[in-house]
Symmetry: C2
Subunit: 272 residues, 2 copies
């Protein structure tokens, strides 16, 4: 199947599910729900939830097995962007060409919208559509976003604002801020399918390398830290090598992994 068409189909499905999951603006407090919806539906590419679904399919699961986990990952991604943009954090006024949540609404609303989206992610996973896998999914998500995951990565990133980062620090930040949620996306897709541990492990490995490559390409596109530390050419070569390693980890799935490999190739060729 054509990749762009596949991604579009998945995105529509994910957006419909997110729309069902998020409280309506008619539910009290309406403005808080409006802010949550504003940030969730503000043009995200839905790469992470697509990875959750493809990972589940690659293991022989169905789209429906993965949809809650896919939404949970996107809710967490949105929460982390809202909090990262706050004046006390990175102080960004814009996100994806639109006003950041705290600028469109206000700071208190943005803090609470983030808190509520984070909470909703766990609520969705506990809803009972993946019995048996639920607790494993919740454990994986929590481990990826706490102080030893995303929050830790964001902390060290802010700690080093305006200071020179060496390769070790940069790797720590990239792994925690970006890599762990991408790795979790792959692992959770596999867990939602009920896959055996060898397969879960393979997808985790794919996720680890893909996440690292993804961050490097992001940095190349917006002049970020990887370019400063490694230089543009070496950074791109590194991303290519990581993608080969990622795809090699999926050999055990044979042609079932074709979509995932196409996506990881696409992620280093993208121009946005």
């Amino acid at each position: 199947m054509n990749l762009i068409k596949l991604l579009q189909e998945r995105r529509d499905l994910i957006d419909k599910a997110l729309n069902r999951i998020l409280p309506k603006e008619s539910a009290k407090p309406g403005k808080l729900h409006k802010a949550m919806r504003y940030s969730v539906f503000s043009g995200g590419k839905r790469i992470r939830p697509v990875l959750v679904i493809e990972s589940c399919l690659c293991c022989g699961g169905a789209v429906n097995d993965a949809i809650d986990a896919a939404c949970a990952i996107e809710l967490v991604h949105t929460f982390s962007l809202i909090h990262d943009d706050l004046p006390g954090m990175d102080d960004d006024n814009y996100r994806r060409g639109k006003l950041a949540c705290h600028r469109k609404f206000d700071e208190a609303t943005a803090i609470l919208a983030g808190d509520a989206l984070l909470t909703l992610a766990f609520e969705v996973l506990a809803r009972g559509r993946a019995p048996g896998a639920e607790i494993k999914l919740i454990r994986e998500l929590a481990a990826s976003i706490g102080s030893l995951g995303i929050a830790g990565g964001q902390y060290v990133d802010i700690e080093y604002t305006g200071r020179k980062k060496d390769a070790k620090i940069l790797n720590y930040i990239n792994e925690h801020k970006t890599g762990m949620l991408i790795k979790a996306s792959l692992k959770m897709g596999a867990l939602a399918s009920g896959a055996a541990s060898g397969r879960v492990k393979a997808l985790e490995t794919f996720g680890r390398y893909t996440g690292e490559a993804f961050q490097i390409v992001d940095d190349i596109l917006d002049g970020g830290d990887s370019v400063k530390v490694f230089g543009k050419k070496d950074a791109l070569n590194k991303a290519r090598l990581l993608t080969s390693k990622a795809n090699a980890a999926l050999d055990i799935f044979k042609d079932k992994a074709d979509e995932l490999k196409t996506i990881s190739d696409y992620l280093i060729k993208r121009r946005f």
Copy 2:
């Protein structure tokens, strides 16, 4: 048993468990873990986790069945205080006579410490010490703290800052900001014990009334909204009536509920 001694014993147990659960300062990023620990160990009375434990015991469970849920509730309580105190929210410099997290450290650290504590609460519940009850516990906690729970209550509270609140708005804020987490404490203790639904329901009812009474007494002690809306005398009478209703809901437990009744009586007599 003497109530003060009982509370002290429970508190010691809870503090030890929290100390085990929280990442050490030696784990990276150390300063983030320091901030999380600073706020968790800053003199909280541990009323909510004590209620979790007593509710579990009242249903015939053991302290060990309830300790993870008790810690999760206290982690969530601490997260909500840290975020409430932020400059973009209530802008409080002090909490329990000590510097608020964002003043002791900085704003970014406080936001991330709160996010990480919230996440840790779910991680603790998913650790697998209450098999069977885990998913129910996670559902209950998530429902109490999202946009239809604590975050919603805090949102409306900020929305009405400096504006006159009528009884309806005040009830909404009190129920969501304070009541729901106290109700969740009682319900989660019962769920952790594996109690039948009638018993869970009774403890939920006790929690709802006790939570309402607790907030009114808080307002009486610090001149809060309940006093402004109802007057001090009527507010105190209301708190007493709510406590009677709370205790009446526990009649089915006979003398097994003595500790909980003593605690609810104590909560309206307290002077701090």
